[in-house]
């Protein structure tokens, strides 16, 4: 593109921008919809949430909590509850109204079948007094958290329904009172020794009040910005390329003396101006409501916003707004018309909110790989800045990455105007595509559907939720059946598309060498991945129980975990998928993308990298040898190794560095064999 290199002529861009702005402003309905509506809705949402909260508090305070007494120690329990209710305590907490001082009203009622009455919501609570023996039997199920040791004592058991607001809140209030009562009585037993004097502690936070509240706001600031820019700019951006394309005025514009770069620049400025205007008006709107005391900012928040902080925030947020506007224009440019652009908008909107949520994750620091992820880096950076933490080099990187991403999005939007079939329209018709090209085009959607199937179906059907059921459904039915269906529908040739053919004999040698080596290195990859995505213990346990259940005999495990996946996963991933991706993306990108998809198909975040690593090896082997048969054997061997090692207690706790060294050599030589056996 020769024009692209030309510099922007700002007077022209300004003329274009003014014209576009004028037209947008004249579209009164759009302006009303995208500016006024959010201005009205946002405070309404705030108001609704505070209303809902106070209404609930009022409701809970107004409720008369009806409880029944029972159990072997009923009389004792009655006295205890009576004493507990006599304590002067505020049950409602902060939401209490002044008249009642926040104490809940409890009322005892007689009941023959107290448990059923709780179940049927005729009463809120059933207070059961249990003697020592019974208490021991009953155990301390969901007991108060301070009950650490099991002491022989009578028990007050509060029977309630957690799915009923009144019952749950009444139980909480009563339990709080009972614990407080016990505390008070203990203090009376030791009048000379006060618990308050023990281990007094004074905690000092180095962060100022404003910084602490700044962090809370900082978690959501970028999220709000992206939401506002995307939703506010969308109408304008959608209209400005896709809409113009539909109305034909884009072609008029393309025949004038201004370049495509200038056109996109003006449109980007317009979307940006609109989005920023909406963002600013929302802030002003909020300020007005704060000014009228309709709702409160976090305490001392304004103290955190010094001029330096404000400037840095601005420097970081503007590129993010540019990026969002660029993405919107890109969508608009890719679409053939207004409606199509709208269709792409919603998923793009949700996807761009995901990185903006990065700051919500606790303990994610800017000084990590996140600094390279656009939007997510600014999200985290904003939180750190509001906490008073200026990590200048990292902020500089963040700024540069954001600018680069914004530039890239804008550049891609310029390229969409270059793309000829969008201007000419319909030169590529899907119906006219041959089956092979059509297959390559549809691969992403087909695999997305398969992913959803294996994610959703087995867990919804009890019969399929066991390991065997899952393997039979996912691996045999979805993968195997899916491959057959694709092969039939798109007439995929067996040898070329599925790589189902005999490899050179040397390939088998490569597999025998590669399988143990790759397994050892795979353990290393798992440890590395655990640094990036640490897995919670409990989840790892339930996962290994799921994958290697102890009750299955070894031969069944080998069939279901090694043999069947070895055959069918190779067919569907290194056969059909790799073939489809290669046609469109080229060999190396095809291998990489298919490996990533293979990882994603293993659903769990902790298995993503280890399985993607295996996918990479199998994919490379399949491409080199021109056959998926070595991959099948390799896959099956790889999955058998942990089963056999665990069953015979040979699984080493960890591998030593030299193990990894030898394994790397083994893997390299395995690929040496594949290279020798490669298909020319």
């Amino acid at each position: 593109m020769t024009e692209g290199a030309a510099r922007l002529r700002w007077p022209l861009v300004a003329t274009l921008f003014r014209c576009e702005l004028r037209m947008t402003l004249r579209d009164r309905r759009t302006v009303l919809l995208s500016v006024l509506l959010p201005l009205l809705v946002m405070p309404l949402i705030f108001f609704a949430s505070s209303y809902v909260e106070s209404a609930r508090a009022a409701r809970l305070e107004a409720t008369v909590y009806r409880y029944a007494l029972g159990g072997t120690e009923e009389a004792w329990a009655r006295q205890l509850v009576k004493d507990a209710l006599a304590l002067e305590l505020d049950d409602a907490g902060e939401g209490s109204s002044q008249s009642s001082q926040g104490a809940y009203h409890f009322e005892e009622v007689a009941s023959e079948t107290p448990r059923d009455d709780v179940r049927e919501q005729r009463i809120h609570l059933f207070v059961e007094g249990l003697g020592r023996e019974e208490a021991r039997e009953h155990g301390s199920e969901e007991a108060d958290e301070s009950e650490t040791d099991e002491v022989d004592a009578p028990q007050v058991n509060l029977v309630f329904r957690a799915d009923r607001d009144g019952s749950r809140e009444g139980m909480r209030a009563l339990r709080r009172r009972l614990v407080a009562l016990r505390h008070e009585r203990r203090q009376e037993m030791l009048p000379s020794f006060s618990e308050e004097d023990l281990y007094p502690v004074e905690a000092e936070s180095l962060a100022s009040r404003s910084q602490e509240s700044g962090v809370q706001l900082g978690r959501f600031l970028v999220l709000f910005l992206v939401m506002l820019v995307m939703s506010g700019g969308s109408v304008v951006a959608t209209d400005s390329i896709a809409g113009e394309k539909e109305r034909g005025s884009l072609e008029t514009l393309l025949t004038t003396a201004c370049t495509r770069l200038e056109i996109v620049a003006a449109k980007l400025l317009l979307a940006l101006a609109f989005a920023l205007f909406i963002a600013v008006s929302q802030v002003v709107n909020l300020a007005v409501y704060v000014g009228f005391d309709l709702f409160d900012l976090p305490e001392g928040f304004l103290g955190a916003v010094t001029p330096a902080v404000a400037l840095t925030l601005l420097l970081l947020l503007v590129p993010v707004a540019c990026l969002a506007a660029g993405v919107l224009l890109l969508i608009s440019g890719r679409a053939k018309g207004y409606k199509e652009a709208q269709l792409y908008f919603f998923p793009a909107y949700l996807l761009s909110l995901l990185p903006a949520l990065a700051a919500v994750l606790p303990s994610l620091r800017l000084r990590s790989a996140i600094v390279l992820v656009p939007i997510a880096n600014v999200s985290v950076a904003v939180r750190e800045i509001l906490a008073g933490n200026f990590d200048l080099p990292m902020l500089a990187v963040t700024f540069l990455v954001s600018c680069a991403a914004a530039g890239l999005a804008a550049w891609a939007a310029v390229k969409t105007l270059d793309s000829e079939h969008l201007v000419v329209g319909g030169a590529v018709q899907e119906r006219a595509l041959g089956p092979a090209a059509l297959f390559a085009r549809r691969v992403p959607v087909i695999y997305a559907l398969m992913w959803v199937l294996i994610l959703i179906v087995p867990m919804n059907i009890d019969a399929l939720s066991s390991l065997r059921g899952q393997v039979l459904f996912n691996v045999v039915l979805v993968f195997g059946g899916g491959t057959l269906l694709m092969a039939w529908r798109y007439r995929l040739p067996r040898a070329e598309a599925l790589s189902l053919r005999m490899p050179h004999p040397l390939a088998w040698l490569g597999v025998l060498l590669g399988a143990p080596s790759a397994f050892v290195l795979g353990v290393g990859v798992f440890h590395l991945s655990n640094q990036v995505f640490p897995a919670p213990e409990r989840m790892l346990e339930s996962m290994s129980q799921m994958i290697l259940p102890e009750e299955l005999p070894t031969w069944q495990l080998l069939v279901f975990v090694a043999l069947l996946p070895g055959i069918f996963e190779e067919l569907v991933f290194r056969g059909a998928l790799l073939h489809g991706l290669r046609t469109r993306w080229g060999t190396w990108r095809g291998i990489l993308v298919s490996a990533a998809i293979f990882g994603v198909f293993h659903v769990s975040l902790f298995r993503l990298l280890p399985t993607a690593y295996l996918g990479l090896l199998f994919g490379a082997a399949a491409v080199l040898t021109g056959s998926i048969l070595p991959g099948m054997l390799w896959h099956a061997l790889n999955n058998s190794l942990p089963i056999l090692l665990t069953r015979f207690d040979l699984m080493p706790e960890s591998f030593l560095p030299w193990h990894y060294g030898v394994a790397s050599l083994g893997l390299v030589s395995a690929f040496g064999f594949f290279w020798a056996a490669r298909r020319r």
């Binding site: 309905r29 759009t30 919809l33 809705v41 609704a48 809902v52 609930r56 809970l60 179940r119 301390s140 007991a143 108060d144 009950e147 002491v151 022989d152 004592a153 028990q155 509060l158 309630f160 329904r161 799915d163 009923r164 607001d165 139980m171 339990r175 009972l178 203990r186 037993m189 030791l190 020794f193 618990e195 023990l198 281990y199 007094p200 502690v201 004074e202 905690a203 000092e204 936070s205 180095l206 962060a207 269709l343 994750l361 606790p362 303990s363 509001l386 933490n389 997305a448 559907l449 992913w451 959803v452 994610l455 179906v457 867990m459 995505f533 640490p534 919670p536 213990e537 409990r538 339930s542």
Partner: protein
């Protein structure tokens, strides 16, 4: 009414809708793919956070005089905490906490050095703006709390109070709600909101496309010029929009439930909270009927608003306010504990939402449900009546009237009723 004619027109509308990419993608493919994807994303994020905080050890430094106390012992025995002893050169420690190298610092206050360490004041320094540091502070405070309890027990023993006397009693709680009821409780908070938004969003595209879109494409006149009566054409279109809107709502509901069961339930189970996301069979017809009623109302409203537009885009901005109006009331009932009362049964949309919520947990207050249905039916009838009056004007019917619904109301209906 010529039902045969309406049937033909209805089938034609439905068939061409199912062939349109944007309808198929927007109302079938996106919900089916988006819910699993979103929930999977959320679940991965949550497990990531869980894993991260589990693997995170609080790095606490203490002054040398703390080392001999039980506090140090307690902290050291906590495997989530690592303690090291540092010389209290204040500035350095503070800047290390500020930079995140260290999470917290604990020392004994210099005053009252003659007291035994259990009565001396502990000074904890941390950074409240850092999650990790705040967690470290919480862990210190927790271990001091349990030390205090232990110490009180020791004291009680010394005073000759038996363990049982000291304990007095224990407090336990027992939740009678089954895991299924808990699941229904959670669903009751989320599902009605989604269902209403989805019915409304599902009506938007077909309602605008069937009115303003037709006019833009020029197919409106083709239709009006056929032998079919305008009444049949509009009835068929109305039925078609309602069908799509209702289907969108129910399809979304289905995709959501199925995704919740497959993704959230196992995750909750692995953290020890069992929830089953199942709705009672009996509630399905009630929910379907409610969705249909809503769809009837929203479709009529949106078509009425959008029929004054000349282009698809214009139609969208005309119909959008109804979309917002349809889910705003939901914000006010999004709280546990709100149940269907006779008063609330009279509030449109909210009453249906509450019927949904109660149906999900298997509660059916039939008289109130009847009231809610009646209110919605009256509403639908009112909109249809209005539509009928509007369509009596020929210029609106053939699309030569230019102006919005509200201008029309002002000019034609209100003025007329005054005279």
């Amino acid at each position: 009414m010529k039902w045969r004619e309406i049937g033909i027109l209805y089938r034609m509308e439905l068939r061409s809708a199912l062939r349109e990419r944007s309808i198929v993608v927007g109302s079938i493919l996106i919900p089916l793919l988006l819910y699993p994807l979103l929930m999977w994303g959320i679940m991965s994020g949550l497990t990531f956070v869980m894993g991260q905080s589990e693997s995170q050890v609080s790095r606490i430094a203490s002054s040398a005089d703390v080392e001999s106390t039980r506090v140090f012992e307690a902290l050291e025995s906590d495997e989530r905490v690592s303690v090291e002893i540092l010389l209290p050169s204040h500035l350095d420690i503070r800047s290390r906490i500020r930079s995140g190298e260290l999470d917290a610092w604990i020392e004994l206050m210099p005053a009252a050095a003659e007291l035994s360490p259990e009565f001396r004041k502990y000074h904890v320094v941390y950074d409240g703006s850092k999650d990790r540091s705040a967690v470290a502070e919480t862990r210190i405070v927790e271990s001091l709390d349990s030390l205090r309890t232990e110490r009180m027990e020791d004291e009680a023993k010394r005073a000759g109070l038996g363990e049982e006397v000291w304990q007095q009693y224990s407090v336990a709680s027992e939740n009678l709600a089954s895991s299924r009821q808990m699941g229904q409780f959670i669903m009751g908070l989320i599902v009605p909101m989604f269902l209403i938004i989805m019915v409304s969003a599902g009506a938007m595209y077909p309602a605008v496309d069937a009115t303003a879109g037709e006019r833009e494409r020029g197919t409106w006149e083709t239709l009006v010029s056929t032998a079919a009566s305008p009444g049949s054409i509009i009835t068929a279109k109305y039925l078609y929009v309602t069908t799509l809107s209702c289907a969108a709502g129910l399809l979304n509901l289905f995709a959501m439930l199925v995704s919740m069961r497959a993704i959230f339930a196992p995750m909750l189970a692995s953290t020890g909270k069992n929830m089953e996301f199942k709705i009672p069979l009996a509630s399905i017809p009630v929910i379907a009927a409610g969705a249909l009623l809503l769809a009837l109302f929203i479709s009529a409203g949106m078509m009425l608003l959008a029929s004054f537009a000349r282009t698809f885009k214009e139609g969208q901005s005309m119909a959008a306010p109804l979309y917002v109006v349809s889910f705003l009331p939901m914000l006010f009932i999004n709280s546990p504990g709100i149940v269907l009362t006779p008063k609330l049964a009279l509030v449109p949309i909210v009453n249906i939402a509450l019927v949904f919520r109660e149906a999900i947990s298997g509660t059916f207050q039939w008289p109130l449900i009847a009231v809610a249905v009646a209110v919605e039916l009256v509403l639908v009838a009112a909109v249809l009546l209005l539509a009928q009056r509007v369509l009596r004007f020929e210029d609106v019917l053939i699309g030569s009237y230019s102006g919005s619904f509200f201008r029309f109301l002002k000019e034609r209906i209100i003025r007329r009723s005054q005279t």
